[in-house]
Assembly symmetry: D2
Homo-oligomer: 282 residues x 4
């Protein structure tokens, strides 16, 4: 049966859930999954609803919802669960996250279309193309980085992806680029943030002598590795693990944290506000 | 500000959440935390709401709610968050769970009154009494177990505790006893259920050579270690850990799983149905 | 620099480590990693050594070691770390473990050769062949299972693999088959053993209402899912996860537990005794 | 049977383990547990041995070992496992770690004597004294911190504790104090280091929006929260957890990480070198 997703945030007030669930009920909607969260500090309300058995089409529903949302001062989306999301993946020379995402996509875990995979290197062309996907090589010239990112932005503007995934894409994105695609770019950082922001986190984790390493899936913002965190994963290490061991072991953390972040983002489970993320996990 | 908890389950149908949240809104109630779950297999609906700023007292609210609940065919409770729950703790000769619960209780993590601690042994009398709590010694005679449990049941009937916690209480409860206090008796079993039901789970875990051990917090039913599971906790072990090591390491799993189960039960976060538990965690 | 692995178990007695490390020192061997474990209950000694800078070749070393090992009543192997292990992978219709293993193998995490991948179905032929590996389809006829397993045994006898990995191979192996290849066949079971031995563990985990699910990597023996456990992995689930969700979430546990078990087996880190496994993890 | 612990580190060279295990064998010593680690980067060797059935007393053994240790350029200790360690605990106004340690000590998990508990506040006097332990109140005057620490140092000099545990002791130690008792002072920091060094880590974790919080057990050095890490523990949090929730949930991480760190330190399982810790876990 067709499922519709409502994702909404607005200032808190009495009767919000009643208004929203009442609205859906008037159109025959049955709420099969509802999440609600109120940030008491900022008096802000967040919800996600999965609605089935609606008696109207999505366009009609959206039009009917518009005045209510306006009155509430809400940010919101209403989408069909079945509508395919569009995801573009960026990769550099470490392919484990790319491989993991493509396997999950192929096996049906990630419901989306992938218009292309973009890389600043040629290493994964064959790997991507044998999946029947388009591979775009966009070199980033260290003397003129803007050119490469402008080329990339043009693709994004044309494709309007729901999600851009930095699957160990090792270039710092220009601030304007982050701003233009704000809330669309999901990164996996290979440390337990805010520990080890920036380059070589495994080497630095080794030097600090930590006993757990991790990975962080977060939305990219202009400030490096400082955007809203969606998920984190850690694993125990010991004194006998070399920096190379950390790189190897950490890959499993990266894969898991990124895959969950992608899945939740694609299924309308992530709401950003300020530098925090509400994640209605499943 | 006063907070009220609604806990409710009923057959699923369109408009349930609208009806419930609308009801609360009519009494000025603001929903600060809402959990909802629909079991699609059984078409059954579960919710828990934290409601503030209600303009009526609890008795009036309950009376007004009664007809709606009846119409929905609902099981429900409406309770003040501030009303103190009553918890009775049972212990035998292993005191780590008792000590942990009393520490959490003393420090304010567990909002409840403890009318007494009951044991089939005298070991923890001084420990309990120095906390200013009543200690009741009820021996269980192996030739006439019924007598001890009848004495205990009398206390329960008099005290009407919201929760009875078996904090490593090492006697099997009679079936009639479980039936009478169904949904009130929380047990901690020192294995990862359904592995190692019954006696000596750590020894058996050692013999099986498992690489993780755990503990399970569940509601007691007539069938041993088979009641609805609230929480489980595991920890990694290795070949060099002896059965005694497992006992020692496992204690931390037991403490954590039991403490969470108690906390969630006391704060109206657990709904039992059949042999499953909906746990609206926090 | 060349590294040699000694793996040895024998009855415990005074001076064992001195004898073994002294032996290696006489040949110029430097011990870069040593693990030792004594099972005090059975007075049995286990060790694994990584030795570098040996001044003799492996054949000479083995010949010199033979009399000492005999005197100790030891089971042992001495192998070059660089010598490629041979691993055969078996798969049925669930390909996630196969895909994970091949990715790790391709990326250098698993140092071995893979003479072939065997399946009772044709589903993964293309997937395997595009990795440049041989795919062998050996159907298992439900009316004459012995024929298929005899064909498989012939391959094993010819190839002498160090390890046979059941990567979600969904056929029960005949007892004689398990006996012939004892200590060579590594299985991944999709539950936290000994919970849910046998078929449909996720469905049964759902029905029992557990709050953690897991996977177990163990050596196959004649008794189903009862062989020595190498590693286990768990992950938290909640009441809202359907049996299908458990299948999806559990795949990550399976991948991780199997990959570690394979890696440790290939690098001579697993010593079986009775139904237990000493795993000198790294 | 009497057990002796050897803890030793020295420059790596061929034959080290042979020399050490040979030495013990000459005195009839049976090695019941041996750990060895070689840091290949710095060519440094670390070992810990549990030795039983030695035919000489500890003084004789130490005297015999002295020349060998000197030749190896080793740092080492040889101690009887049965000899009681001395541990002094420091606490301020958060008592959960203190309570946890005292419970474990009382139940036999931590084999040590506790000459006194020291606090800059009076809050836990009754709690400590009812355990039969001495409570010392040493106020830290914000205008003359040196005076309080000098008083404390005098106690340490008199008592020569093997371990001083900062069980949520909320004063920064003077550098000279850290230097004098280097390698003796174990701290629990309430964050996953190196994230959130310094004050209010839970509040800052909340503001950063992390999805896991943790605690770190480390040796105190002059630089705040930068000493060698012994153990870390994390737990998952969600968007709905307030800073107060993090404080509550984090306490369990603190208790576990500190208890393990104390246990390993007391049983000669921790070897510090530079800013790293070799921890031969059990």
């Amino acid at each position: 049966m067709a499922i519709t997703h409502l994702k909404l945030s607005c200032p808190d007030r009495v009767g919000l859930l009643a208004a929203l669930s009442g609205f859906m009920a008037r159109f025959g909607g049955n709420l099969v999954e509802v999440h609600q969260f109120t940030d008491n500090l900022h008096r802000w309300f967040f919800t996600r609803m999965e609605i089935e058995s609606l008696q109207v089409d999505l366009e009609t529903l959206r039009a009917a919802f518009e005045p209510l949302a306006k009155e509430l001062g809400a940010e919101w989306t209403l989408r069909s669960a079945e509508a395919r999301r569009k995801m573009i993946v960026l990769v550099s020379k470490q392919g484990h996250c790319l491989a993991d995402l493509l396997w999950r996509w192929r096996s049906g875990e990630l419901a989306c279309d992938i218009p292309c995979v973009i890389s600043n290197h040629e290493d994964y062309r064959a790997f991507v193309e044998r999946e029947g996907l388009e591979f775009r090589h966009i070199p980033i010239d260290s003397k003129d980085k803007a050119a490469g990112f402008e080329q990339m932005a043009a693709i994004f503007r044309e494709q309007s992806p729901d999600l851009v995934v930095l699957a160990r894409y090792m270039q710092v994105l220009p601030a304007a680029f982050c701003a233009e695609f704000h809330g669309k770019i999901l990164n996996i950082h290979h440390s337990f943030l805010p520990s080890f922001v920036g380059a070589n986190p495994y080497q630095r984790a080794y030097e600090r002598g930590v006993k757990l390493i991790g990975a962080t899936c977060h939305y990219a913002t202009a400030e490096l590795d400082a955007g809203p965190i969606i998920d984190q994963e850690v694993t125990r290490i010991e004194h006998f693990h070399s920096p190379d061991d950390l790189v190897r072991i950490g890959r499993d953390c990266e894969r898991l944290a990124l895959a969950r972040g992608v899945r939740w983002s694609l299924s309308d489970r992530v709401l950003l506000y300020g530098n925090r993320a509400v994640v209605f996990r499943h």
